[in-house]
Amino acid sequence: MTDSLELDGKRVSFSAGETLLEVARRHGKEIPTLCHDPRLKPAGACRTCLVEVNGFRRMPPACATRATADMQVTTNSERIQRHRQGLLSLYLTDHPETQPERLSKNQLVEMAERYGAAGDWGSMASERAGRREDRNPYVHFEPDLCILCARCTRYCDEVEAVNAITLAHRGAKTTIATVDQASLMDTSCELCGGCIDVCPTGAMTEKLPLTRQVKPSKHLKVVRSTCNYCGVGCQLDLNVDTSANEGRGKVVRVTSPETGTTTNDGNLCVKGRFAYDFVDHPDRLTVPLIRQPDGSFKEASWEEAIRVAADGLSRVKSRHGADALGFVSSSRCTMEDNYVVQKLSRAAFGTNNCHQCAAT
């Protein structure tokens, strides 16, 4: 069902259930957001997306307001501009003046520049507590940079259903906390790092030493790849320092593709996001190896290796019958790979002895 409303004086259509933010963005209107994430239910907490709607005394948040027929919506006006500048100026009073060179862009600072927020309203003492000491290896929380948009806590709740972190305390002391401010290791946290991905200001980041040698994001090349830890096939973005390793490049960080563009919708698990060291680990196998009679391995081509394997398997089959063979494939293989392995087992060798390690 579609209906229409008036967006900045122009008639546009929308589908039932769409929010004003979705309609406006679909029509190329610029509405800033900080707490919005399409994966999460709207919170309307950051207040950056307020728009004017005829008949509404107060400016409603575009992210949480559903479009209704014949609404008259204004996405830019003097009132909206004044609000954005005032709001962002207030945010800046509660934000560190000097920004450390960060892995991620600080969307708040960028937004403040873009909308001309005054940076001279002074600064105030922030009392947001951090975790006393957190021995988890991956996630670092910098309370000073936090703007309490609650994307991380909502993500942890609504997407991951893990609920390791929460908003705690209230008023200006509100902070992001774990139960009793314990280390993430002592909570239900699965270290998926989604909190890092959703954080708009870099308050949640990868921990040292994961980030020790990382250059700011503008110096890194982003390469879309497929996580090979399991068959799900999550898409991830390898951030490559192209000058490292004598020009061969080095993966220094993994980030999520934009929400809504991949099947995993930007979600990753601890392995996909943090366990990329294997890529250039010296123990990693990069060419086939054939075991020699003396037990040592010799590098070989794929043709050679496949021939040796085929010969060996055929030999067992001819000597002991097909059911003397068994095929086990890896959960790191894709569904298609697994399909081919069972095909190889059943059609090429003639045995139903096939299995996949995740199928237990």
């Binding site: 609000h83 945010y91 005054a118 609650a150 609920n163 929460t166 095909k343």
Partner: protein
Amino acid sequence: MAGPATGVPSGARIPDLRLRTDLVSGFLRRRDCVVPSCRSMFRSKKRHELPDALREIGGLADGRSKQAAERTGVPEAEAYGVATFYHLLARPDVSLRVCTGLSCRMAGADAVLETAQALGISSEGCSCLAACDVPPAVLAGRRVLPRVTATTLKQAGSVAALGSAEWKGAIGPDPGDAASLALHLAAPPDFSGRAFAAAQQLGADGVIAAIETSGLQGRGGAGFPAHIKWKGVASQAEKVRYVVLNADEGEPGTFKDREVLLRRPDLVLEGMAIAAAAVGASDVYLYLRGEFEIPWGIVEAAIAQFTASGVLGDVRFHMHAGNGAYICGEETALLEALEGKRGMPRLKPPFPTEFGLWGKPTLMHNVETIGCVPAIVLRGGEWFKQLGKTEAGSKLYCISGDVQRPGTYELPLGVCLDELVEAAGGYVGELRAFSPGGASSGFLPASERTRPLDFRALADAGSMLGSAGVVVLNTSADLKRAVFDQLRFFEDESCGQCAPCRIGTRYLREQFIKHQDAPDVRVEALRHAAEVAWEMNEGSICGLGQAAPLPLTSAMQHFPEEFEA
């Protein structure tokens, strides 16, 4: 041996099985309700028991949130989030809290707190205890004790020795004719249920028509026409509906709801039963602020009396104690608290009449509003309407500060300050300023003493009637200290959810201190105050943040001499 047939016949069209991610993400976006607060609604069936569980376990301390989580099935982190939100849960070891509200401060609360600390009592200042008529008030455990001065505390020497007797505040004036008051606090409680019986005769439509005729406006602060809410709930397609009593009275300067609960719980319960029948609800929830230990006992006894006699039909009353958070007086924050969550206001719309407690249509009223209902049913809407002076009904005004007899006075809605103070025995000293409706209404100068204290006239003056908590300041009062107290109150009580309020309340308080303490930046410190106030009003989610700058901006407007360099 052939494998299973898998080949695709040549020439067959292979369907495109690639996932349409645009459709998937679109679906993900719209799969559910736009209201954030319903997200964990279906998780734990015992979530609403979380605050009580935390309280029974003893409040916040390492390990307690985990215990409460185990007991209720709520995630540990969320239990911690709730425990840290509510003052009475977050700091369970404080044995004495001294009210730092305006009237208590004027009556020497600072000295009480100093004395308590000198005596080694674990103590702290706290937000208004709804006892401004008996200042200075203190909270021992969860019991409000009246008129505890530094001297009495010193003589007592300990919290236990202060006693715990039940008490009531002063009321007035004596109407002569009982038929001129809707609540009539001086009359003995009436447990006969005759208003409920009369409502059954009228039928739901008849009752709602009477409410509409009466012109009853919500007496919690907003002044919203009551009948619109009643009709709103009654007309919902959803048949499970609730009625909720907002007895989280906490607006500094306000104590009328306390007095109604202490003296006429019958009116409130009967009003709730009438409302429930009229809007098709059978469960009624009463949310009393955690500090209302004495009213709690009185209401509990009244419920028992009504339940025993059965005169209110089969309505079921459920009582819920707050845990120390002014923001829970905001209706949607109250609903969150009832559901066992952090009391952070929801976005509106949708309003509670459509999406209220557990997502069901909910009629919510302030104690005084619902207390007017039995009289309206018995005497008719037109009668109620005529009781008012400039707007409908009689009204409970709370008056404290520099007046002879602070208390709760039921007068025609629309009397002016002079008339109100006359009922309270007159001014003490010479009037300089007054706050007409709690901290949220800011300050008005003495020249406004004849302005009707009603919803419209005060809104026209840039103030509000709010909860009609009138505080009078005479020429000896420290106005700037009063401004500071109100600013700090809002900072302490901001829920922290939205930036304009969370940051703005602290910013204004800090800048105000700079203005006070640093002569070189005296004017500069408040240079952006007006713009911050504008943004807080425009950008905040709920009324707290919207009203929070008013004590400062109204003082700057009406008393500019206080702010000159």
